[in-house]
Each structure stands twice: as structure tokens, then as C-alpha cells.
């Protein structure tokens, strides 16, 4: 997922539709059943047919079902309610009930959540199953609990995907191929440090300028999960995609703490179960989208490069030793216990 600003990329502030569906969704599909009396406004940065929104629609359906039509979600896609960092502020202050945001802006949200930057490390998880195991397990619970008292109740880890690298000049198979290239990244210290370690020049351009910048070669490439590269149409101006899977990018479902605590036990039970169901659905949709995205883009003439990831793992090892990044070593050790 993308950092903090409205249109910052990652989960694509500009949003987009999933490749499969044709045209923008009707707003009726976003608003919950009109008869529901307890409504949660939930904002996200992806497009109406993006994986975040599809997952939220599943949760909306389940919530109406589990609460017998009493509760529902009104979904606001496409950063319509603001960028990710903005929406976290809104949820914590109660100007909007819920949001689904990537973990990018979390470390700077509050001193209580600063150790979330551990999740920004390169090759932290070998695969999605490992990520689920850690994030659904003790470490994940510990991280989510750090939001207690900030005005936000963090409910669980959904998924954005593994971030891959695109460019327009050549096939990149090894870090040596990347040397000296200008790569647009998120405004994130750990990510930028990783690209510097790899020999690239990271640059946090605003998402709004990405297209002309890629076309005019102001930057040579950018990085995002495949689902975003497809749905935000980045592939239209990029010829090569390297499957480096450098970072695993989760996202988090958040709800205003007071509102959550104010629910009756029955309501909270329905809400929790619907959130869990939404999470399962969203992860499945994300995985499907990632696997179909490659085929759709290959059909459009994009060249995919499968890389030997062990070379990249080796090349980014020193990021783990960079003390200036302030990575929480205890937490890292706990994650390593699971990932080996």
C-alpha cells in the first residue's frame, strides 16, 4: 500500500477498477442497504473494483446478514474521503467511522505505533502464507494492540500484495541492472534506504506526476504490487516488470475506538465476524488479482522478468543493520522465530 498522501500511488490514490470489470461502479454498490440504522462510513484509496473495495463489499454483505439488516458499511473508494494518513486522523477523531489503509503511514501516526516500521523491511516474509501466520498470530495481535488509546481500534491485517519493480528501459534481473536508475518509491524511510542499498536513486515523486514523469523519463521506473500496476494503468507507460517481490505490503482495517466500544456485545460480535470474513475474502481476491494481473499485462505486451530472489535478498541484508532506521529488534526477532 501507499504512504500517506491522497494520490500517492501504492494503493493508488487515483484508484482504478480491476481489469475484469467494465466501467466505474454505480454508487449504489458502494452504499449499504438503505434500511440499516447503524452505518459505518469506510474510506479507502483503491478504485471501485480494486481488491480493497471488493473485500469491503464482502464485509458489507456479511455485516448486514449477521446483524439482521441493522448494521452496514457505506464504502468510499478512490481516496474520496482523503489519503491514507488523513483517513487515519479522521477515524481517530471520529469524523469518519472506518478506513482500510496500507501500513505505510502507520509508523509516523503515533509514537505508540512507531515500531510498525519493522513491516517495511525488504524480504521480511518469504511468501503470503508466512505473512498471514505472523500477522494473524501473536506479533500481529501485539502490533494491533498498540493502537489502543489512540482513538483507533485496529481490527486485522488485510492485503495489498508483494511490491514489484517496473521500468521502461531494460529487463532488470539483478541489483547490478538497477544501478544508477531513478526509481519512484513511497515516501518511506525504510523503502528508500533499501533502494539506495540496491544502488538505485529512490525518489518520492507525487503520484499525480507519475505518468508524465515515467513517459518523459524524469524517473526510470517505479514499484508497486501487480494489482496496482494493472488497475492504476501504470503498465501503459512501462515495458518491463521485474518480479522481485521486494516488500510485502499488508493493510489494516480500522474503526473509531469509541464507536467500536459503544457497540452492544451482540453488535460487536456481528461486526467482528463480518470483519474477519471480509479479510478472508479480500486476501483471496488479492491473490487472484495478482495471478491474473500478470497474464492481462503480458497480453498487452509487457515483458515480465522472473529474478533469482536470493541475490536480491543477499543484496538487501545490510538494510537490517542500518541503525538509523530505528527498527524494533525485539519485534524483528519475534517475527524471525516464525519465518526462520
Amino acid at each position: 500500500g501507499e504512504g500517506d498522501k491522497g494520490g500517492n500511488g501504492g494503493t493508488s490514490g487515483q484508484g482504478s477498477n480491476g481489469g475484469a470489470s467494465n466501467g466505474a461502479s454505480n454508487s449504489d454498490e458502494m452504499l449499504g442497504s438503505a434500511s440499516a440504522t447503524v452505518r459505518f462510513k469506510v474510506g479507502t484509496t483503491t478504485a471501485p473494483d480494486g481488491h480493497y473495495v471488493q473485500g469491503l463489499q464482502e464485509m458489507q454483505k456479511l455485516l448486514e446478514e449477521y446483524s439482521n439488516g441493522e448494521m452496514t458499511l457505506d464504502i468510499y473508494p478512490n481516496s474520496a474521503l482523503g489519503g491514507e494518513s488523513d483517513m487515519m486522523d479522521s477515524v481517530s477523531m471520529g469524523t469518519q467511522e472506518m478506513c482500510l489503509v496500507s501500513t505505510g503511514p502507520i509508523p509516523s501516526f503515533s509514537s505508540a505505533t512507531s515500531n510498525w516500521s519493522v513491516l517495511d523491511l525488504p524480504y521480511l516474509f518469504k511468501n503470503a502464507e508466512q505473512a498471514y501466520e505472523v500477522l494473524d498470530g501473536e506479533v500481529g495481535q501485539k502490533l494491533l494492540a498498540e493502537f489502543d488509546g489512540t482513538g483507533i481500534k485496529a481490527l486485522g491485517f488485510w492485503e495489498n500484495g508483494f511490491r514489484d519493480l517496473t521500468n521502461n528501459t531494460k529487463e532488470i534481473a539483478t541489483p547490478a541492472d538497477l544501478a544508477g536508475m531513478k526509481i519512484r518509491t513511497m515516501e518511506n524511510n525504510v523503502h528508500m534506504a533499501t533502494y539506495r542499498t540496491l544502488g538505485a536513486m529512490p525518489s518520492a515523486l507525487p503520484w499525480g506526476e507519475i505518468f508524465s514523469a515515467l513517459q518523459q523519463k524524469t524517473v526510470d521506473g517505479q514499484e508497486n504490487p501487480l494489482a496496482i500496476i494493472l488497475t492504476a494503468k501504470v503498465y501503459e507507460v512501462q515495458k518491463y516488470i521485474s518480479m522481485i517481490d521486494l516488500f510485502y505490503s499488508p493493510c489494516v482495517l480500522m474503526v473509531n475506538e469509541d464507536i467500536y466500544n459503544g457497540l452492544t456485545d451482540e453488535q460487536r460480535d456481528a461486526f467482528d465476524r463480518a470483519a474477519e470474513g471480509g479479510k478472508e475474502a479480500e486476501r483471496r481476491i488479492s491473490q487472484e488479482l495478482a495471478s491474473t494481473a500478470r497474464a492481462s499485462m503480458e497480453a498487452e505486451g509487457v515483458v515480465f522478468t522472473d529474478v533469482d530472489q536470493s541475490v536480491w535478498v543477499e543484496a538487501t541484508k545490510s538494510v537490517y543493520d542500518d541503525a538509523s532506521l530505528g527498527i524494533d529488534q525485539d519485534l524483528l526477532a519475534e517475527i524471525r522465530k516464525v519465518t526462520g
Partner: protein, 422 residues
Amino acid sequence: MAAGILFGVLFLLLFVGVPIAICLGIAAAVTMVATGNIQYLAAVPTRMFTQVDNSTLMAVPFFILAGNIMAEGGISDRLIGFFELLLKRLPGRLACISVVASGFFGAISGSNPATVAAIGGICAPRMIQKGYPPAKAAAIAASAGTLGVVIPPSIPMVTYAVTANESIIDMFEAGWVPGIMLIVGLCIANVVMCRKYDSVDNTAYPAREYLIRFKDAFLALLMPVIILGGIYSGWFTPTESAAVACVYALIVSCLVFRELPVKKLYKVFIDSCVSSAVVLFVVSMSAPFAWFMTSENIPAMISNAVMSIFTNRFLILLVMNLLLLFLGCFLETQSIILLVTPILLPMATAIGVSPIALGLIIIVNTSIGMITPPMAVNLFVASGICKTSIGAVSKKIIPYLLLEFGILLLYTYIPILFGITI
């Protein structure tokens, strides 16, 4: 209900003369309270902040500064003076230069206010010097600035393309059609309306004169070469080019032409700060207003209500345009595209308008929206540059507004009448 209070309060406050920015803020806050949403009030300061905490907006203060330096430091006079000489037989040439230059700038920049600041900042002071009334000069710069997002590349086109699941490249390519229609239309209008300010110059200058003027203008001519060439060749982004333009203008004005002593320069910086502040304050305050409208689904409700009345496809297209024009008076481009596209797209497809054509109809409308008061960023930037009142510019902008809307209708109906698909 909410929409009624929101617009009622807004119009009342605008009428009595409360600063436009504050009208937007009070209207939003009052409506939040009146509809029982006191918890929303904290969104007012946060939206104000995030709206101006925005990299793409940075081009505005930078180009306002660059324009002021160039005007005060003698660059603009030399630069435009040279083109005026070349075009001496064209009446209204200064206004036409503004339009064509905005077109060129639009071809590298994706933003309207940046185009007004960049081109208006250079051309408008010269127009005023030549006897164009300041409000007229501002109207010319503001209307030419609508080319910024119509001519590709364009940030709103990217937003539309991903919202409607269309190709960005196709949108960019199709954008040239309305873009060129607007350039031609604005130039013709300016030749007609501005002939009295700079009429045909029949003096026969010796070839030497051209050479002298070219030599004199050489460093000034490098300015557009650096800005346009620098972006085309990928040296820098449009926003960065604005900072480069400032530095180049400073070096040439202060060190080469020596027309900008420190005291005058200090004044230039203060003026640029104040102009940027008043412009961006309105932009900033429009955010809580737009956020509240979004959060309460007001644009979607208005669109659904209005569009459901009509069945005739010619009427539907007309009403679509009028609706977009109305929304453009109050909201900025991004909100309109995000909120209205899902409603208009199925309707347009049903009456045989392609999604790309609809996209351009929306883009041109929202671009025109930047010259329709009260929320009219192009007018704010232009009247800031020309030091004239928003009321005076609003009057002078009317012919341009009608012209652009006429061109928009031509663009909307010609394909349908002649069975062309875009």
C-alpha cells in the same frame, strides 16, 4: 436538506461580501452542525491542511514568483517584445501569444493554475503595460489557462481514466481535439476583442532591428527553452521546472540585466508570498466544503435527481454539460470526476457516447469550472497576478466562458450529428 443549507448559507455569505474562502468554510461548518454532525467539525482544519500539503500545487507559488521576477527584472519585456515584433501584423497579438504559450505549457503541465501562473505571470504584466485593462488581461490569462488540463498530459485525465477503466494513453491522445478547438477559438476571440489594445503595426523594420531585438532577447528566450525543453527531455518534473525557472530568472535579472536591486527583489518575494497565500487559502478552504459534500453524497444525489428526468439523448447531453458546469462552480476537478463519473458513464454509454468522449466532456467542463466563480482557481491566480478584483475579472471572463461552453457543445454534438465515434 443538507444541500439546501450548504448552498443557502454559501450564497448569502458571498452576497454580503465575506471573503470567498471563509464563505466556503462557514457554509461547511454551519451545515455540519445543522445536520447534527458536530463530530465532523474537526475535519475543517484537517482538510484545510491536507489540501495545501500537496506537491503538485507547489508549482503555483513557484511560477507566481518566477513571473514576478521576470516581469520586474526585464525578462518578460524582452521575451514578449521579440514575439510581438514577429507577429506585428496580428491584431490582439499579446492575447494570442498568451493562448498559444498556454497551449505549449499545457503540453508539459497537467495543471490549470500552474499554467495561469506560468504564462499569465509572464504575459499579463506586458498586456497591462500595453494598455489592456488589468481585468481584461486577467480574463485572457485565466481563460488560456484552461488549456492546462485539456491538452495532454493532464492529471484529471489520469483520474478519469482509472475511474472509468479507460486507457490513459487514449485519453491523452483524444485530448488534443478539444485542446486545439479551444486554442483556435480563443485566438479568434482575442483577435476580435483585443484589436483595440494592440492593433496592426505596419512599420517596416529593417532586418537589423530583428537581429538586435533577438540578441537582446536571447537570454530571455532561453527561459521557455529551459522550462519546456527541460521537462520534455526528462531533466525535471513540471513542479521542479518552476523552481529552476525561478533560479534562472533570478540569475539573469540580477546578474546579467541588473534590473533587480535587492530592495526591489525583496518586494517581489513579499508580493509573491501574499498572492500565493490568497489564492491557496481559497483552494485550502474548498477542501472541507468538498469533503462534506462527498461525505454526504450530495453531488451524486444532485446528479441522480437531475439526470433521471430526461430521456432524449440531445437533452441528456445538454443537461449533463449544464450539471457539470454547475458543479464546477463549487467543486474542484478531482472531486467532480470521482463523484460524477460512476453516474454519468452508464448513461453516456446507453446513448452511444464513448467513455473517452464522455471523459473529455467531463475534463473540459471541469477545466471551464476553473473560470466560473465563486470557486475559480484560474481567476484567483490571474487576478492576483494582475492586481485586480475578482468581480472585475468575473465580468470580463463572461465572453470567454460563453465561447468555451460553445466549443464544448460543438465537441459534444458534432460526433453524434455526423456519426463519428471518438
